[in-house]
């Protein structure tokens, strides 16, 4: 079998952290050079060390470094890259960036700028879904205005038709920004104003709309790939229900408890939206599933998702490899088509947890710092995606993700068992991470039974109590360590001259280097 030619000669990765590392690895696997970019906070970061070349963008704040479109494109041109992979976050969903890359004669590894533009506006996406008969979460299909008294009255009437509690959401939004929860019509006007102001500040677009808050619900999303012929396929779904503050904590593929028929139906809904939008490359359609089994369309993310790895493990393909070959204009690969073929009836299961520098006993408050000991889990069915090596700092300027720990097994129970085992092997010190929460999830009977929803964390997790249970063991460990240190310090008081045995062994080792 001949090895296919690399889709590009050289790729610039317009990102940092674990996702930059993950994309650099794909570049090297496919025989392409990888060009990193970095801010001053990341000058010695792992993505810079792994890349074939690296270009400085500026000081740590994202607006002065990773968000500088001109600097990123100039770096690509100067370093001779022929494509730019944006990763997730930063510039990945900015249509203007994709357009500027295209205009510079470079390839943007992702959907075309026109598709990003169309689907990036959530109202546009909701209308696109409605136009192909895919039901979106109940709410408005147009922006809600509150400038004139009659508009306010209309907004209140619409809200009452939709029903409370509802959410005010930013059309250009993401990650919960610009979002407000409203429980009655009296709160509505203030929430619209506040949401709009926040959206305008964050996204430069103050348009907001109303959406019913569906609770309890599961967050299920469909991975899509599309090629230049207009063909769009679904590579299975992921359940991302375990969230706090609309940020995902745990993801898995496939979604537990769905029948093959339900999966087929869900994938078909996603493909319908993707095809209608003219999707190319990779994107994800997000849905909410209510307890009655109905799926409601939420939005489309026109980029590689943080949690793409669980689909890769469960479905047996490399999504970043696919992104590169699709971006080079090649058709959907045989591997991708085969994965799409078995997507409704996958034969393995994968779970990912996001190990973040946050304190799960203090409502997941972020806490950057230097990692002092970092022993990653390994072994059968375990994958770790990280941009952190021992001694690195988790900088306060960017998101708190330290590592994604993924476990893969023939079925969900095996994946959970491997996850639990992997998390027990994980060692990290210097910063507080979300590890205790993930250990709790991996042991929880309800989670094992597949009983998940977006309310799960609030209903089941008591961080302070979990932490309090560990205090005694920590105090014991501290005392034991101190006692051992004292024994070692006083000659002859330790167990049978331990120190001199070590010294003797070290001497023997330095002389006896070669096997006899």
């Amino acid at each position: 079998m001949t090895h296919p030619a690399p889709p590009f000669r050289s790729v610039l990765i317009a990102n940092r952290g674990e996702i930059a590392v993950r994309i650099i690895r794909a570049c090297h696997e496919m025989g392409m050079s990888a060009i990193a970019v970095y801010s001053d906070a990341d000058a010695r970061a792992q993505h810079v060390r792994l890349a074939d070349a690296a270009v400085r963008l500026g000081p740590p704040p994202p607006a002065e470094s990773y968000l500088r479109m001109d600097a990123v494109i100039a770096a690509a041109i100067a370093s001779g890259a022929d494509a730019i992979h944006p990763g997730y976050g930063f510039l990945s969903e900015r249509a203007a960036f994709a357009k500027a890359v295209e205009d510079a004669g470079l390839v943007f590894v992702g959907p075309p700028s026109a598709v990003i533009d169309a689907l990036g506006d959530k109202l546009h996406a909701r209308r696109a879904a409605a136009s192909v008969g895919v039901e979106a979460v109940p709410g408005t299909l147009d922006g809600v205005l509150t400038e004139r008294p009659d508009q306010v009255a209309e907004a209140v009437a619409m809200a009452e038709r939709i029903g409370f509690p509802l959410l005010v959401k930013a059309a250009a939004g993401g990650g919960g920004r610009g979002m407000r929860r409203v429980t009655n019509s009296a709160e509505l006007v203030a929430a619209l104003a506040a949401g709009s102001a926040e959206a305008a500040a964050a996204f430069g677009d103050g348009a907001v709309y109303l959406e019913r808050e569906l609770r309890p619900a599961r967050h299920i999303e469909v991975q899509m790939l599309g090629d230049d012929t207009g063909r769009v396929v679904a590579i299975g779904e992921r359940d991302c229900s375990l969230q706090r503050r609309h940020q995902k904590l745990v993801e898995e593929a496939p979604a537990p408890g769905l029948t093959v028929a339900e999966r087929r139906h869900l994938h078909e809904l996603a493909v319908r939206v993707g095809t209608a939008a003219g999707l190319r490359n990779a994107a994800t359609a997000e849905f909410l599933r209510t307890p009655d089994g109905a799926f409601y369309f939420l939005e489309v993310n026109t980029r590689l998702q943080v949690e793409h790895g669980v689909t890769e493990l469960a479905m047996g393909l490399d999504i970043v490899h696919e992104q590169f070959t699709l971006a080079a204009g090649r058709p959907l690969s045989d591997v991708a088509l085969a994965a799409a073929e078995r997507a409704a009836d996958p034969d393995s299961h994968a779970i990912e947890v996001r190990l973040a520098a946050e304190d799960p006993a203090r409502d997941f408050a972020p806490g950057p710092g230097r990692v002092r000991r970092w022993v990653m889990p390994a072994g059968p069915g375990v994958r770790v995606d990280t941009g952190i090596v021992d001694g690195d700092r988790v900088p306060p300027d960017y998101d708190n993700l330290v590592a994604k720990i993924l476990a893969h097994g023939q079925h969900r129970e095996m994946a959970i068992d491997r996850l639990r085992r992997a998390l027990d092997e994980t060692e990290i010190a210097g910063i507080q991470t979300t590890l205790p929460f993930h250990r709790f999830v991996a042991r929880h009977a309800g989670f094992r039974a597949g009983d998940v929803s977006t309310d799960w964390v609030a209903e089941h997790w008591d961080g302070p109590a979990d932490r309090a249970r560990a205090v005694g063991a920590a105090a014991n460990a501290a005392a034991m360590d101190q006692a051992a240190a004292t024994r070692a310090f006083v000659p002859g008081s330790g167990p049978a001259d331990e120190a001199s045995d070590w010294a003797a062994a070290a001497r023997a080792e330095s002389i006896d280097r070669w096997p006899r």
Binding site: I428, A470, A474, A478, M480
Partner: protein, 158 residues
């Protein structure tokens, strides 16, 4: 084996008072709760305490360990100092073991806070003991040349 006191660095709360030789402490932790113990990056602000970072089951603790007897002594000294703000006798106690090399006050002397009362030599080092507050020396319970142990009362100030 001495008893060890473990204190939470941030809150100052006592989280354990343990005898490392005791069975309950030396029992190995279950494999899924293997602790990580590292020296802290910054030393304790309190003399005689060792600062450590401990991670158990993913939870990170900044703890300080010290000899429990010394900790009790310090606690008592602190309490005495607090009490000194009110009326009543204040006991000045030895905080290190050693030999008294000079006694600079006698019963009935009026002393000011910070004034030298006596000196104890330990490991060739002279350690001065000073008056914690203004007062009158009510009793001197030691003399030059005497060996003292931590906690021994040396001078009482009224």
């Amino acid at each position: 084996m001495t008893r060890l006191r473990v204190t939470d660095r941030a809150s100052g709360d006592r989280v354990g008072d343990l005898d490392p030789a005791a069975e309950s402490v030396s029992a190995p932790p279950s494999p899924d709760e293997r602790p990580i113990v590292l020296r802290a990056t910054t030393p304790s602000r309190v003399r005689g305490r060792t600062s450590v970072e401990v991670v158990v089951a993913g939870w990170r603790f900044e703890l300080e360990v010290e000899d429990a007897d010394l900790a009790d002594l310090r606690e008592r000294a602190t309490t005495d100092r607090a009490a000194a703000l009110h009326d009543g006798p204040t006991e000045v106690r030895a905080i290190i073991p050693g030999r008294v090399i000079s006694v600079d006050v006698a019963v009935g002397d009026i002393v000011a806070a910070g004034q030298r009362l006596l000196a104890v030599e330990a490991m060739k080092m002279e350690n001065e003991l000073r008056a914690p507050r203004d007062g009158i020396v009510e009793r001197v319970t030691t003399a030059t040349g005497q060996i003292v142990e931590p906690g021994d009362t040396l001078v009482i100030i009224l």
